[in-house]
């Protein structure tokens, strides 16, 4: 901030927009902007989580049966994949901070790849559920029960579980697609040499978004796959 006391700015740091005093202020402002966007995302997903909880309380048998019909191995695998992608993303941001361009590009490519693996597994799951007639609609069928529940649920209530399942994982998947787009953008311009230790805000901000999408999955995984598995 000390440099701003001079009336004329002789040295203009690379990437610094004119409304900011120095790169640090710019970096903090851009990160704060992304955090505030993420707060709105918390409220966005929060409404769905609330709806899921309310109907799970209302129809416990149907929600437990629906939850048990999901592919547990796929949900767990995707959790591990996303945690791995968060590690590569955090290390990519670190590489951009210390100016290791090659490492940053490689780590962003690894993040991108893991993001695509996640979407691939998710696509496999959705296809599996489609084949089992678990997609809500005219062709919906459900004849399963949960180990923890005595009876078979009304299929109409189980359909409600799958509405929530497809909307929540679909919205999360949409965020993953956007994340893959953002990482591709950062990867391309990172490879072109746009980011330096003094100006790497886009990498940092992309990282914040990526980790947030990981956190949404960290909550979706237990709520959809785990809490009704017990006998």
């Amino acid at each position: 901030m000390a440099a701003s006391e001079n009336a004329a700015v002789e040295v203009h740091p690379y990437g610094l927009q004119e409304q900011f005093d120095d790169p640090e202020q710019q970096r903090e402002a851009s990160s704060l902007g992304m955090w505030i966007f993420l707060v709105t995302e918390v409220m966005f997903f929060g409404g769905l989580f609330l709806g899921y909880l309310v109907y799970r309380v209302e129809y416990p048998t149907a929600f437990a049966a629906g939850s048990n019909s999901l592919l547990f191995w796929a949900g767990t695998l995707n959790t591990l994949v996303l945690i791995g992608s968060s590690l590569t993303m955090a290390l990519a941001v670190r590489s951009s901070q210390v100016g290791r361009k090659t490492a940053m590009v490689a780590l962003l490519a690894a993040t991108l790849l893991l993001g695509l693996v996640f979407l691939g597994v998710k696509g496999y799951e959705w296809h599996d559920e489609y084949e089992r007639h678990h997609v809500p609609g005219a062709a919906f069928q459900f004849h399963e029960k949960a180990p923890s529940m005595a009876g078979y649920p009304d299929p109409r209530n189980a359909q409600l579980f799958f509405f929530f399942y497809f909307v929540m994982t679909g919205l999360h998947g949409l965020h993953m697609v956007v994340g893959v787009g953002i990482v591709s953008f950062i990867l391309y311009y990172g490879w072109k040499g746009r980011y330096t230790p003094g100006y790497h805000n886009p990498v940092e901000v992309a990282g914040l978004y990526w980790h947030f999408v990981d956190i949404v999955w960290i909550y979706l995984f237990p709520l959809l796959y785990l809490i009704d598995r017990h006998p």
Binding site: L50, V54, T76, I83, R94, P197, I215, I227, H230
Partner: protein, 107 residues
């Protein structure tokens, strides 16, 4: 320009390892029947255990991967606001829905 806090690589790997271990624990715990019997009620603790572990994992991601631990206090205020408003949404709504089946008290 003030120096930016560079988190050592081993911290990131330690957090990643912790996240993997917590994922293993939550997957294992989901196969146990956790419940407490209180009077006439048999209360399942599986959901509480799963959400507790999820919150632990989310905290690690926010504090270290998202650098909240090394960020200005203003960022912490913003994160706190998000959690606080979400808590209002969930607790006040559930306080309503969970107590609708108490007709004896309503009369």
């Amino acid at each position: 320009m003030a120096a930016e806090h560079i988190v050592p690589k081993r911290t990131y790997f330690a957090i990643w390892t912790a996240l993997l271990i917590l994922t293993g624990i939550t997957a294992y715990v989901s196969t146990l029947n956790l419940h407490v019997v209180s009077g006439l009620h048999d209360i399942s603790l599986n959901a509480a255990a799963a959400l507790l572990i999820a919150s632990l994992k989310a905290s690690l991601v926010v504090l270290f991967f998202m650098h909240l631990k090394y960020s200005p206090r203003l960022t912490a205020v913003v994160v706190f606001a998000a959690i606080f408003w979400l808590a209002i949404l969930l607790t006040l709504s559930m306080a309503d829905y969970l107590t609708r089946g108490l007709p004896a008290l309503a009369r």
